[in-house]
Amino acid sequence: MFEMFTRLADWTISDALALEPGTKLADAVHFFVEDTTKIFFLLVIVVFVMGLFRTMLSPEKVRGYIEGTSRGIGYVLAVILGAVTPFCSCSSVPLFIGFLEGGIPVGVTMAFLITSPLVNEVAVVILGSIMGWKMTTVYVVTGMSVGILGGILIDRFHMERWVEDYVWKIRMGAMTQTDADGSIAGRVRYAWGEVKDIVGRIWVYIIIGVGIGSVLHGYVPQELFSRYASADNPFAVPVAVLMGLPLYSNATGIIPVAEALIAKGVPIGTVIAFMMSVVGISPPEFIMLRKVLKPRMLIFFGVFLTISFTVVGYLLNVIFA
């Protein structure tokens, strides 16, 4: 099914641009055309299909599902729902306060917020179709485990004292369920609106990601990676994680970069650690969460994620060596 994108890329270099096959430029252009078309195609389809069913999944509903469950189930439910519930990142703060107000533990709430950017259904489908199901399963399981572990630690060490005091005083009004149009026409309209919203928000990350992937693919020699980023270099994983910290991309945008790195022989653990560092830790989100978390909690949050991603990298490199 995905052959059409490869053929389109073949046609672009041979017929449309008349490039010499096998040259660096042709390789880079081929990568760019194939990945851009494939990713946007899948993105539109997945977002649209999910949009049809999605009128039923909102942060307000999620709060209702998690409220009153035992902690153990709460963590698992939080990371699963964190992966599939759409919400604008600017909703992180009201969502955090709303969850706490509903009696949901801070750790369970944080588990939800950690997993939400790392894992989502769009990234899963695109990752699966580009890099296969093994890599995808490893990525999803790892992302969810980090979320659950972070949540458990936050509750275990009673970090609720590092939540800003005013948060506990906020009382939430009666939850209003706005009327969702459940007719087919209404669902299609909603789903189409989602496509426009999400594509409008993340297309830049995809183009930048594919662009970087193309350059890596076409121009950066394999020896460079085998010399510095192989599993033999013990510093490769932490360096990859540290490099990813200040960078931010959407989970979908980082996939083409990961694809190019894997193709250059960089080990899977190093690549996943880098992906998670780029996607899971972002300066804007930290600034936003500062409104509800005291600095010590933010430091814990940042250090915990950095260490987790590094451990994950080493572990996966050993497992898949």
Partner: protein, 78 residues
């Protein structure tokens, strides 16, 4: 005169939502008053967790994203 409140932390989607209501009101010739609510306690007081949210004459009519233009038109004409 219809009174709208747009609930949100001041992010791009919230600004877009306020502008959408303003433009539609102008196009339809309806007099409106739009207030942007950024105070978290006030937003949650309306029972809204996912922003942007829209309050029309004291009642929450929308939450969690930019509203569809025809929905906005229905609020203005209703």
């Amino acid at each position: 005169m219809k009174s709208f409140k747009v609930l949100g932390s001041g992010c791009k989607n919230c600004i877009t939502t306020a502008k959408l209501i303003e433009d539609k009101a102008k196009a339809l010739g309806v007099a409106v008053e739009i207030e942007k609510v950024t105070d978290m306690a006030a937003i949650l007081g309306f029972g809204v967790m996912s922003t942007p949210g829209v309050v029309l004459d004291g009642k929450v009519v929308h939450a969690g994203g930019i509203p569809q233009p025809d929905k906005v038109a229905a609020w203005l004409q209703g």
